[in-house]
Amino acid sequence: MSSENILEVSHLKQYFPVKNGFRTVPLKAVDDISFTIKPGETLGLVGESGCGKTTVGRTLLRLYQPTSGCIVFDGDVLYDSEKKIDVKMQPYRKQMQMVFQDPYSSLNPRMTVEDIIGEPLDVHKLYTSKGERHDKIMELMETVGLNAEHATRYAHEFSGGQRQRIGIARALAVDPKFIVCDEPVSALDVSIQAQVVNMFEDLQKQRGLSYLFIAHDLLVVQHISDRIAVMYLGHMMEIADADELMDNPIHPYTQSLLSAVPIPDPKTARKSQRIILEGDVPSPLKMPSGCPFRTRCRYATEQCACEMPPFTDRGNGHMVACWNK
């Protein structure tokens, strides 16, 4: 493992115990996922609802205890199930942060904006005097485009976009290197989405941040990401450079996802063909054997039912998990 990546995840598994009648069965939310993120890079993570995108982000930050796998951050092993490494996360909380999906429930309604943004500073004791704390908070608020006079207000007095800015300021307070953006724009209006996405890009340029950008809006992900990863039922299906994936999707699931992206031009839209998947997503408690996508795949063969396809490089770092050549 080289240390040129800020984050390396290999064979990460996250199972949750679920009571099914009298038995407790594992719900395989994330199953054997590997990827890397370079400094200053944005990896977009897409997939339909319930495929484990959010779980990946939260397990990375060790908000959940991983079932097995290996997480290496900036050369330091944070978790390794084989070597039994399980470090205390407190010092790393300063370097890895998260922006949450729902700007309404991710801010404590009983705290003022100043206290919300100031909490990471309090926890990590990043100031020497009250004045320094105040100055730092004002600077953060200015960075994310909030007025200084908003500091004494409560979160419920703001609009969705402003609330998301507060959440971003909170994540930036500890000056992290890496931020997990868990669908940060999906709860916002389209016009506000553009502002927030642009702000993410500006912050990346200014501070050299790396992002794991989780979303289900493919166009937003294409806009912000350097590379895109596609997930289905807890498995990684395809990873490629953003433009490569959009122009030349290999996995049948990625192809159907891309065909579902609305095209803002009726003439082109009429010509394009929608690949419509049949059936529903299988329950993660009753995973199909072999490839998880085979029950809905047009090209499924007997081999797909027997064995999980390996995650192989098809050239230029375009990784795909599919038997289909």
């Binding site: 939260r58 930050l61 908000l63 996360m89 407190q90 909380r93 300063k94 942060q97 998260m98 949450f100 999906q101 729902d102 429930s105 991710s106 801010l107 404590n108 309604p109 009983r110 705290m111 909490e119 990471p120 926890v123 990590h124 007025n147 004494t152 207000r153 409560y154 007095e157 959440g167 909170r170 500890v174």
Partner: protein, 352 residues
């Protein structure tokens, strides 16, 4: 620009060609500033108090309680009789009656403070006894509720926050305590404590209250917190689901800080409401126990023991039963109305 612009016939767009620059005026700085002004910032507490002030029943209850507290504090300073002072020849007086000796004093020109509620069979001023009884009832109610709140909050928040196996064990303990008969325990404790503690506490403030009261507090501390613990655990389980708790974990906030800063403030409304509603129930328990003879020890009166003493002469002196009974009703009703008002004000989801 204006000339080559042609308006579609059915367009609802304003035709700018009909206006000239003179029809518009620039916004002044004052007007621009008004766009930026937000409404006055309201805290959760201010908002709740505003709603509470609009509720006439709750305000009436607060008025009654304040009046009661003032009377309870100041009446013993004004009235020259003590709750244990026995006046010879003044037994069994009706309200505002004077005994023969007191009438003589009045005839001499001395002023005698009237017996507002009359006197009891031993010649003690009944008004001051009811006042002291209400004092005991209120103090017991408030302190018992605070005791219940403290234990219940600590236990419930630990159980709810940690969850999993800890929660399972802690809640089974609560279930076991729930199934214990409270009255039986109070009676048993009172008997046991009377023998063991009786001699130790002699001469201290506790002696005035009596071992029965200590038993009552112990039972409140041992048994009555379970309801509060369950309620707070339930609240915490729902609040824990909010993303801001996860965000706190992501920042690296410690468990105790998360509970104190993020979770408890958000179930504060439920805590306030339940405590306010717990006080009348504690008062009722105390009155009931005093009525059956397990409350404060004589001569210290309590509303329940006053009612019990009044039973014997109920036909001739019905007012002796009515006054303490009415006092209990007034206190409990006012506290219940206040509790309801607080619930409406601080937990609007429950009321509508």
């Amino acid at each position: 620009m204006k000339d080559n612009f042609k308006k579609a016939p059915f367009s609802a767009q304003i035709d700018l060609s009909k206006f000239s620059m003179q029809d518009f005026e620039k916004a002044t700085d004052e007007e621009k500033r008004q766009q930026d002004v937000m409404g006055e910032s309201t805290t959760f507490f201010k908002d709740g108090m505003r709603r509470l002030r609009r509720n006439p029943l709750a305000m009436l209850a607060i008025g009654i309680l304040i009046a009661l507290i003032i009377v309870i504090i100041f009446a013993p300073l004004v009235i020259p009789y003590g709750y244990a002072d026995i006046m010879k020849g003044s037994a069994n007086l009706h309200p505002f009656e004077y005994s023969a000796s007191e009438l003589k004093q009045i005839a001499k020109g001395e002023s005698v403070f009237p017996h507002i509620f009359g006197t009891d069979s031993l010649g003690r001023d009944y008004f001051i006894r009811v006042i002291y009884g209400a004092r005991v009832s209120l103090v017991v109610g408030i302190f018992a509720s605070i005791l219940v709140l403290m234990i219940g909050m600590l236990y419930g928040s630990i159980s709810g926050y940690l969850g999993g196996r800890v929660d399972l064990v802690m809640m089974r303990i609560v279930d076991i305590i729930y199934s214990l008969p409270d009255m039986l325990l109070i009676i048993l404790l009172a008997v046991v404590l009377n023998e063991t503690l009786g001699s130790i506490i002699k001469g201290t403030i506790f002696a005035k209250l009596g071992t029965n009261m200590i038993a009552l507090f112990i039972v409140f501390g041992l048994l009555y917190w379970v309801g509060m613990a369950r309620l707070i655990r339930g609240q915490i389980l729902t609040i824990k689901q909010n993303e801001y708790v996860l965000a706190a974990k992501c920042i690296g906030t410690s468990t105790s800080r998360t509970i104190l800063k993020h979770i408890l403030p958000n179930c504060l409304s439920v805590i306030i409401i339940t405590t306010a509603l717990q006080i009348p129930s504690a008062i009722f328990t105390e009155s009931y126990l005093s009525f059956v003879g397990l409350g404060v020890s004589a001569p210290m009166p309590s509303l329940g023991s006053l009612a019990n003493e009044a039973r014997s002469g109920m036909m001739t002196y019905p007012e002796r039963l009515l006054f303490p009974a009415f006092a209990i009703c007034l206190i409990v009703l006012a506290l219940n109305l206040l509790g309801d008002g607080l619930r409406d004000a601080f937990d609007p989801k429950l009321s509508r």
